[in-house]
Amino acid sequence: MVDLSVRLGRLSLSNPVLVASGTFGYAREMEGLVDFTRLGGIIPKTVTRLPRIGNPPPRTIETASGMLNAIGLDNDGIDYFIQHHLPYLRSLPTVLIANIAGKNEDEFEEMAALLAPQSGIAALELNLSCPNVSGGVDFATSPDVTARVIRRVRAACPFPIIAKLTPNVTDIVPIAQAAADAGADAVSLVNTFVGMAIDWRRRRAILGNKTGGLSGPAIKPLALRLVWRVAQHVKIPIIGVGGIATGEDVMEFLVAGASAVQLGTVNFYDPTASMRVMEALPEYVAQLGATRLSEIIGSLQP
């Protein structure tokens, strides 16, 4: 028997396979396709303080082994989330990690305070890094702002805090370090890489938002390298995200230094991938001669 459980600061998971925000809807859509008991946890779509209509379509376009998206945080706001999505989400037999994005520090704090009295939330993931919304949501390009948001959210709610960071920066290490210093329990690395697709015949950007975030297998090596770099410098646990689609992908991220992973785009093209990936892990862990998955985290040979 291989022990798959992992600890992310104050958060414990029975296995390291999470599903990424924005790639699993509000979980209800996946009922019947996915056995939620087999997931390490669910991170529903980002919720904002007020409803957001989102970006004009087209919102996604496939690229080589990947896709660009510019959904624009289309959601009905936190009041609706608490009333209509949370009752269902908290009833599921798995860990719930709510994901929030504020337009400013005040909104982050306000949302954390609104969620604080709610039962059934195991942790908060802060979307500091959506590349597709104007109005300053790209908090995680600055270590100082990242730290301030995390401190205020920590003070406003009892939940473990996960900071989801953007790769669209010169150096991600100081930002991850700032998150750690401010009291984040873990960092999610990484959100999507900003990219573009063009219809040259019409001389137009394909996405309604013109640019979008690249995800899928195409970005896996990029995400893996950032996880590895941060793991060498920053002490808090890392959740690896970026193009993970198989059990072997998960093993690469664990060896690089991630303590857990999120499956994202693969949920779109293979809705049952999360279960298959989880089931593949014990055998792979055993192949490395380990009995606990935690033994292999960050075990990359020098």
Binding site: T23, G54, P57, T60, E62, D74, A245, N267, Y269, D270
Partner: protein
Amino acid sequence: MTLHVAASVVEQVRLARDTYRIRLHAPALAAAIRPGQFVMLRLPNTTDPLLGRPFALYDTVLENGEVVGFDVVYLVVGKMTRRLAEIRVGEPLEVVGPLGNGFAPLTGLGHVGLVAGGIGQTPFLAYIRQLLGERGYGGQSPSRAVQRVSIFYGVRTADLAAGVDEFRAAGAEVYLATEDGSLGEKGYVTELLRRHGPVDHLVGCGPEPMLHALMRLADEWRTSCHVSLETPMACGVGICFSCVTRVKTSDGWDYRRVCVDGPVFDAACLAR
């Protein structure tokens, strides 16, 4: 209940220029799917193409009265459909479905007009059979819902027309239009419909400009009208929020997902 299955290709038949009918063995999915619903099809063991693509149910396939599979009809237009046309009998495809709301089960209507443009005819064969009581879907026994079904079908040119004989055999009256006049009447299908005159209910599927012309005509005639929309989709199951369209709300409009709230919408609900 949405299923995720590997389905093997039973046959692949060319229906018209660049247009194929692919038949998949998938008994459980085929027994559940209804006209107007769709499936996501994906090639296994590749990440390019990466995402599944939505295809409407063309019709279910019966063997000795048992539902054993289903057909979709596609036009070769891009990366995925080019690869699909190369798939051989016996090879598997990954299928997620049935998806979407499907066409409304109409009752007590005299004459229903189905209006198709381009490759938008594909959801209508099963609907014709359902409305005329030729075949039951999703476990329902066949029952005739309307007196008459006509299909108004427009393509650019004659060799792109696919399925015309099947629509006739299913009991529909077929009216054809081509932009170059090489088959049926010359001009747009909505002009053909206008010359034909009002029916009791309209259902459209095709390019956006055609659907807009159809909805304007339905407004003018004060005829109820449903449209099946096609928007770029990444997942088909409601988790990605890509495929949105503008739907009227009490205080204006909001984007709604075509894959779960549609693909069939009452034209009166769409914010145009």
